[in-house]
Amino acid sequence: MLANLQLKNKTALIFAVLLLQIIILSIMVLNSYLVIFLGEKITLKVEPVDPRSLFQGDYVILNYSFNNLDLSHIEHDLDPNTGYRDSVFYMVFTPQGEVWVPSFVTQNPAKVQGQVYIKGRGYYYKDLYRQTLHFRPGIEQFFVPEGKGKEIEDQIRKGVVYAQVSVYKGKARVTGLVNQ
């Protein structure tokens, strides 16, 4: 049992565990910095609301148009007769003026290579009136200083707010919010 190790070995092991913890944290940092530095910078339109996370403080929830997307107006290769529950989707974005908008949705990663795309989970269904894709790529929150959530929310309600996002190999990270 590890608890019975000699002192010298135990001291070495505590350094090993410390190293493991620092490696885990470094991977977290690198995983995000890689996306920010190497990724394509795109701008997406958002509508914010203001909740709070227990561990991470105040944040603004960002609602994107693609969170609830009507696929009848967008190119895709999904079968409307198949129910897609909690599945992985790849969404391609193309610039339309200064803002990037979704242009193609698929479950096949080979079809999106060489394009700006975001990978995320979601579900897709079709009823009498529309085909809806609920898509969550994990960039729906923006953390703000404590007590500033409301203030920022009020500011951004006055204008049209956009999220600046870095996208790299399907991963996306929000880098800022801007009024335009």
């Binding site: 049992m1 590890l2 608890a3 019975n4 190790l5 000699q6 002192l7 135990k10 001291t11 092991l13 505590i14 565990v17 410390l18 493991l20 913890q21 620092i22 885990i24 944290l25 977290m28 940092v29 995000s32 920010i36 996370s53 227990l54 561990f55 991470q56 403080g57 105040d58 944040y59 529950r85 909690d86 994990g138 960039i139 729906e140 929150q141 923006f142 953390f143 703000v144 200083p145 404590e146 990270r173 929000v174």
Partner: protein
């Protein structure tokens, strides 16, 4: 003085005198590990937890005055220092093992706060994602390295939180969770004969069953299967608790006493809040709500008899309910500040005496229960009085540091403290 205390003192002395080598001392230390939890250890653990919460809240505040890289550097440095100082106190200096283990626990909490800090910096929602899993992966080696119950519990809590917060579909997560639980948490709990973590792990299995049942029913599978499985699991839990130690009932024979302690706490605690006092006066005209006076009257008779026989001791803590008799002398309208202050003083005197009582009668169960209730009382009062007034992180960190400092002094003075309490062994182990 307990055997563990005496052994530690003697080994330090023998080492200094060159009678034994470091290796022999290590072997002897590990042969007789400290197993019982003392007041010092509990205070130190509470202090660590408070500091940990304070640091998490500090970073959650997301203050702009500190650059991101500096925040990350500060938190990494904090948990490194916490682990190393804990290791130094428990394994090299050896004379502050309890504070040392509390610092190791603090290191694990601070490591968790680093995960949340990094997720915050990159605007990632860590709760629903991998945050808890990464916390678990960092903490479980510490639990094995030190055989630490608290780190084991932290590992169990983070693993369970990962599974529940992720709300995963039926798939790999439903297999990974029981494998990690059975492969890492349960073996250490069983090897250490750690009943608390064993029961907590079984509760985690319960939660897994519930999640499994929910997903299966959503996927049109039979819910009956889940219910039958839960029933079988309940029987296994019941049998395993009894097979664990037949000589020791689950509540260590103090079930009724514990219930009465909790009841008195609840009564005293309730009367220490102004809102409750107001309501109490408002509805006092209803006869049923006058029952505290009946209880107080009965206790008064008991107290008179006991005083007459001079038999009053700490075991008569319920006599504290006598204080209810002062109520009719206070004005009913407005904010009864003097009464409120009085009630709070009585509540905390009771809380501290209850801890001392558990310590005195050598009942770890009553002692720990009183500590938990005391911590609950502190938390209640914190939210009641200071929530709007102080920065939350500063309050927690200051409170935690004070407790850690207190436990350091207490551990240093333990011998004289035990002697002054007139005991030779028991909880201080």
């Amino acid at each position: 003085m307990s055997f563990n205390n005496q052994l530690q003192r003697e080994l330090t002395l023998w080492l200094k005198e060159g009678l034994i080598t470091q290796e022999t001392a290590d072997t002897l230390y590990q042969r007789y590990p400290v197993t019982k939890r003392s007041m010092t250890q509990t205070l130190a653990l509470l202090g660590s937890i408070l500091v940990g919460i304070g640091v998490i809240l500090f970073f959650a505040a997301n203050w702009e005055v500190m650059p991101r890289w500096m925040k990350i550097a500060v938190v990494i440095l904090s948990f490194t220092l916490s682990y190393l100082s804990g290791h130094y106190l428990t394994h090299i200096r050896r004379d502050f093992p309890k504070v040392g283990y509390a610092l190791i626990c603090l290191g694990s909490i601070l490591y968790g706060s680093a995960i949340w800090l990094i997720a915050q910096i990159f605007h990632l929602q860590a709760e629903a994602g991998m945050g808890f899993m990464l916390w678990y992966l960092g903490v479980i080696p510490i639990a094995y390295l030190y055989g630490s119950s608290l780190n084991l519990f932290l590992a169990l809590a983070t693993l369970t939180a990962w599974f529940l917060a992720g709300n995963y579909p039926l798939g790999p997560a439903f297999v990974v969770f029981p494998i990690l639980l059975g492969g890492t948490i349960l073996p250490l709990a069983i090897r250490k004969k750690d009943l608390f973590n064993f029961v907590a792990a079984v509760v985690a299995v319960y939660l897994w069953f519930i999640a499994l049942g929910t997903k299966l029913s959503a996927a049109d599978f039979s819910l009956h299967l889940g219910i039958v499985s839960l029933f079988i699991l309940s029987i296994v839990l019941y049998l395993s608790v009894h097979l664990w130690d037949q000589k020791k009932p689950f509540f260590a024979g103090n079930f009724l006493l514990s219930i009465s302690f909790i009841g008195i706490y609840a009564a005293l605690g309730a009367f220490s809040f102004n809102a409750f006092l107001q309501e109490f006066y408002l509805y006092r005209k209803f006869e049923l709500l006058n029952f505290p006076y009946l209880i107080a009257g009965a206790i008064l008779i008991m107290a008179v008899l006991k005083l007459k026989e001079r038999k009053v001791s700490l075991k008569d803590l319920p006599l504290f309910l006598l204080y209810l008799l002062v109520f009719p002398f206070f004005p009913e309208l407005g904010k009864n500040l003097p009464l409120l202050i009085f009630n709070n003083v009585v509540f905390f005197i009771f809380a501290i005496l209850a801890i001392y009582y558990g310590y005195l009668i050598k009942s770890p169960f009553i002692f720990n229960l009183s500590m938990v209730l005391f911590a609950g009382a502190i938390a209640m009062k914190y939210f009641d009085f200071f929530f709007e007034l102080l920065p939350k992180s500063a309050f927690f960190i200051a409170g935690g540091m004070l407790l850690l400092l207190g436990s350091l002094i207490l551990e240093n003075k333990r011998r004289s403290l035990i002697n002054s309490m007139g005991r030779g062994d028991g909880l201080a182990g």
